[in-house]
Amino acid sequence: MSEVIDCVETAFAEEARCNVDMLQKNIYTLTRIVKKVLEILG
């Protein structure tokens, strides 16, 4: 488990340094925008 902890620690750090590309985040953002637009449009 200690090796996995090291991996995850590195993963969080790389994400914080903006070295990571994760499409999933963009999908959440897009979903939020579409929801907002639909709310505005009624």
């Binding site: 488990m1 200690s2 090796e3 996995v4 902890i5 991996c7 995850v8 620690e9 590195t10 993963a11 969080f12 750090a13 790389e14 994400e15 914080a16 340094r17 070295n19 990571v20 590309d21 994760m22 499409l23 999933q24 985040k25 959440y28 953002t29 979903t31 939020r32």
Partner: protein, 273 residues
């Protein structure tokens, strides 16, 4: 869940969440497959089980958060939930801290008793199954919640000053393990705002406009790289809202791949033949 770390690793995880699976189909709620690819050219490098990787990296996240956020000399832990995720979180915690006391609560007492017995027998730690959630919270230094609850299972009045909480269970809109009042009196850390506000522990209060991005202290990664301070005193309550990032999966899977190559295990295939 696709992910690449610049110049390092790349891959994608296909994963489901079907809460009725155990009862209806005798299958796990979460199942996953991971494909790793060469980040330079996309060449498929490995395909592996992603369910174990998901469980491992989620438990490890609780370990990382506890390492950076629990108060000094924390030596007791409470678990709400006693499934695979609770067990993996315990394994991570016992790497991070010296645990002298553990209390475990599950709606099904036999499940928490099973986990407590395993911990006592294997690790020699004083672990008890308790009948109420409150008993697994009050007076303990680190709390880890791993339930699928849609109503809070941890109330604010149960939580002592200085506690660190790993909120691991909420992974879909409508799920919430911690009372909103508890969130409001705590320092909240997340793994990612987009994911946490969509489906993490904070999703319901965010949807209700009770909590906003300004109420979030920082991402856990910002603490790790030193751009933000984690715990600032022994009295504050810290909460890590874990949703699980694709980069955790791919980084962990890459480690599995490297070990498999080193040990010469696995089935070699030429997928492009």
């Amino acid at each position: 869940m696709p992910c690449s770390v610049i110049g390092s690793v790349a891959g994608v995880k296909a994963v489901n969440v079907h809460p009725d699976n155990p009862q209806k189909y005798n299958l796990p709620t979460v199942m996953a497959v991971i494909e790793l690819v060469d980040p330079d050219n996309g060449y498929p490098i490995a395909i592996m089980d992603g369910t174990s990787v998901t469980n491992l990296r989620t438990g490890a996240a609780a370990g990382v958060a506890t390492k950076y956020l629990a108060k000094e000399n924390a030596d007791s832990a409470g678990f709400i939930g006693s499934g695979v995720q609770a067990l993996l979180s315990f394994l991570a915690l016992q790497e991070i801290m010296e645990i002298n006391e553990i209390k475990i609560h599950n709606r099904h007492l036999e499940s928490s008793e099973k986990m407590a017995k395993m911990i006592r027998d294997t690790y020699g730690i004083d672990a008890k199954a308790v009948e109420t959630a409150r008993e697994a919270v009050t007076g303990l230094d680190v709390i880890t919640t791993t339930t699928h609850s849609r109503t809070p299972v941890v109330l604010s009045k149960w939580v002592d000053e200085g506690t660190h909480i790993n909120a691991m269970g909420a992974d879909a809109p409508g799920k919430q393990e911690l009372e909103t009042e508890l969130l409001l009196r705590s320092k909240i850390l997340i793994d990612d705002w987009e994911q946490a506000s969509h489906s993490g522990e904070i999703n319901i209060p965010v949807e209700a406009c009770v909590i906003g991005i300004d109420d979030i202290h920082s991402k856990i990664g910002d603490i790790l790289i030193g751009s933000k301070v984690g715990r600032s005193n022994e009295k504050e309550i810290t909460i890590f809202d874990s949703t699980g990032l694709a980069v955790q999966d791919i980084a962990t899977a890459w480690k599995v791949y490297e070990k498999a190559v080193k040990l010469d295990v696995g089935l070699k295939l030429d997928l492009l033949a």
